[in-house]
């Protein structure tokens, strides 16, 4: 079946709503407007306003209410329009959702899923374009998912809802219109393991989410030059699938981490650190990184493109680490 990433997400929400009456979706403009990125289009008509619940502009309020509803036995899916607006709800996410289980000595679980758009590339300027998922991955108590494929867009939600703890799902804005084949019986997927999206023995390109297409593109072009890259899609940023990262490096002896977040204090820094901690003697070259320039994302197209990881920069980084003779 042909499906877009957006439609795959919608199918996942629909399935969850049908399977479990405790599941409901709430957020700004998820109902009457049809979803700010049209993910929930048509669901209001199908499930009604109780379960496709439009909220006022009150990120802290409705995320907190989602946490409360989860405590009260529901299985809320809270949609935040973009990661930049999640900052208004940071208090609830960090001080409540991520901490309640621990503070209560294991008594109170928060089975909440929060979905949001992340990332740049659409000239939306600094307040709509940041990639802060790596930042959330810093927080113990949260699980951070970054679906990059149609299967994951379709299948991660149900598994996340079954998790007794809060799960944040980051949907990169540039992926919504990506279209491809999705199995008719596509369903829930695991949310634990990274996945090798392309095999190759010369270098590991480690990435996730919105940069996966560019990394695959780069890998294809590198192959023409005789460099075979293994592409590892992390799928989850917290917990990181460390064994998969280390196994990949053990196979290729070289790694480049590609992350649309900023380099300093980032998830790419964490991955690089884990490789040096645990696979140092497997390495034939220093770990490379391709990240966004350390600047709030500018509006102007040429500046925005220059700020973001590109196929060219990924290829250059891969060439650099493969040029080092081990």
């Amino acid at each position: 079946m042909k499906s877009s990433y957006r439609e795959a997400l919608r199918a996942g929400i629909r399935e969850a709503m049908q399977r479990d009456p405790r599941v409901f979706l709430m957020g700004e403009d998820v109902g009457a407007y049809g979803g700010s990125f049209a993910v929930s289009l048509g669901l209001l008509e199908e499930f009604g306003p109780e379960r496709i619940r439009d909220t006022p502009l009150s990120e802290s309020g409705f995320v907190g209410a989602g946490i409360g509803a989860a405590l009260g036995g529901m299985r809320p899916i809270v949609e935040i329009m973009t990661v930049n607006f999640s900052l208004l709800a940071l208090d609830q996410i960090v001080n409540n959702a991520a901490s309640l289980l621990h503070m209560s000595g294991g008594q109170f679980h928060v089975p909440l899923v929060i979905r949001m758009t992340t990332g740049a590339g659409r000239q939306l300027g600094a307040q709509h374009s940041h990639s802060l998922e790596g930042w959330f991955a810093h927080i113990p108590g949260l699980r951070i998912l970054v679906p990059a494929t149609l299967e994951d867009a379709r299948g991660m939600l149900w598994t996340a809802l079954e998790d007794p703890d809060p799960v944040l799902i980051f949907e990169h804005g540039s992926l919504y219109n990506v279209t491809g084949e999705l199995d008719d019986d596509a369903g829930p997927v695991d949310i634990e393991a990274a996945a090798v999206r392309r095999a190759g023995g010369d270098v590991s390109l480690i990435t996730y989410g919105g940069t996966l297409p560019a990394v695959l593109d780069a890998a294809g072009q590198l192959a023409a030059d005789g460099i075979e890259a293994e592409v590892l899609d992390l799928r989850t940023l917290r917990p990181l699938d460390e064994p998969a990262i280390l196994a990949s490096v053990a196979r290729t002896h070289r790694a480049v981490v590609v992350d649309e977040g900023w380099r300093s204090g980032s998830i790419s820094a964490e991955i690089s650190a884990r490789i040096t901690e645990h696979a140092f003697f497997d390495l034939d070259a220093p770990v490379g990184r391709v990240c966004s320039a350390e600047v709030p994302i500018p509006y102007s197209k040429h500046l925005e493109l220059a700020a973001l990881p590109s196929v060219e920069r990924i290829m250059a980084a891969a060439r650099e680490v493969t040029a080092v003779r081990g």
């Binding site: 439009d54 006022p56 502009l57 309020g61 208004l88 300027g125 307040q127 500046l303």
Partner: protein, 333 residues
């Protein structure tokens, strides 16, 4: 300028009435042009136009002095223009050019201009309100008699920052003029579906802030209310709050298929087009003939057409400068 408060035969002095009409026409013309340029892919990102709401910015900004500060939202092209930012500079910003008011780094939603004390262009709903409180705090602490006009939509009223800001401004008796541009919708969410209490003045009253509702389609009413409120704020009366009842005639942004409202509702509001209303008022008072109307239209059109020509000659900022303005640049010792 003649005194707008002593209107002579009509509701407004002739010259002033024509001036306000021109101001609204300039904004309308700029916005129509923006839509055209967006369709031609010359402007990108999110674009929110002010068509239908021109009387709000025109009436309020008329009452400010150049030293006052303005804080606005992502629907701020009109505010920037009427505050005195040249149309060419606004358009160049939306083209992403170096000659734009923010060197192309901000875009349509983030117009800033130090010269006219325009502090954005904020695309976080309600994000500007605390800034306005702080600007007013600075004015008050420095003994300046400036005021800060803070524009925000009806959607912002649901955010915590709205309530925190009103409380602070009232508690510290700060010179803020809160201007709620109530166009009845926050994207697709109608006010009644988002607020338990839809009377904004009552909300402000809860914070002991003098507040009143105004017909936001009638620029003369807006100006009069704003003058009364601004004078009181300036005289040390603490924050004031205006609810400007208006309507956006166009989609929320260029991506909005408008599933949430009836075409009939839009048409009904368009009968009270702020430009049409003032035009009829002036005509009825014999203060505007067909010749003058055509002349005002031409004036607005040629200003914006010329601005597009200038904006088109803009240049791209060199890529080497990408990471500038993350930290302040200090001149070498």
């Amino acid at each position: 300028m003649s005194d707008p408060m002593s209107p002579g035969p009509g509701r407004v002095d002739q010259e002033h009435g024509r001036h306000l009409l021109l101001q609204m026409l300039r904004v309308r013309q700029l916005e129509e042009k923006c839509i055209e340029l967006y369709s031609a892919s010359k402007i990108r990102g999110f674009l929110h136009v002010y068509i239908g709401e021109e009387a709000v910015a025109a009436g309020i900004l008329e009452t400010l002095s150049p030293d006052d500060a303005v804080v606005a939202t992502y629907r701020e092209h009109g505010h920037a223009l009427l505050r005195g930012v040249p149309a060419a500079t606004i358009l160049a910003e939306m083209y992403g050019y170096l000659e734009g008011c923010c060197r192309g780094r901000g875009g349509s939603m983030h117009l800033f201009d130090a010269a006219t004390r325009l502090y954005g262009g904020n695309a976080i709903v309600a994000g500007g309100l605390p800034l306005a409180v702080g600007l007013a705090l600075a004015d008050k602490m420095s003994g300046r008699s400036n005021i800060t006009a803070c524009f925000f939509g009806d959607g912002a009223v649901a955010e915590g920052e709205f309530h925190e800001s009103l409380n602070l401004a009232a508690l510290w008796q700060l010179p803020v003029l809160f201007c709620c541009e109530n166009n009845l919708y926050a994207m697709g969410t109608a006010l009644g579906r988002s607020e338990s209490q839809t009377d904004m003045a009552l909300k402000a009253a809860g914070y002991e802030i003098p507040a009143w509702g105004v017909d936001g389609m009638d620029v003369l009413a807006v100006e009069e209310a704003a003058r009364r409120a601004a004078d009181s704020v300036r005289a040390g009366g603490g924050p004031h709050f205006l609810e400007l009842r208006t309507y956006r005639f166009r989609a929320h942004s260029m991506f909005d298929p408008e599933r949430y409202r009836d075409k009939a509702e839009v048409l009904k509001w368009q009968e009270r087009d702020p430009i049409g209303l003032l035009r009829s008022t002036l005509e009825a008072a014999g203060q505007l003939g067909p010749g003058e109307w055509a002349q005002l239209q031409t004036e607005a059109e040629s200003e914006i057409a010329r601005a597009v020509e200038i904006a088109e000659t803009g240049t791209l900022e060199p890529l080497e400068d990408l990471t500038r303005f993350v930290y302040s640049e200090r001149s070498a010792p």
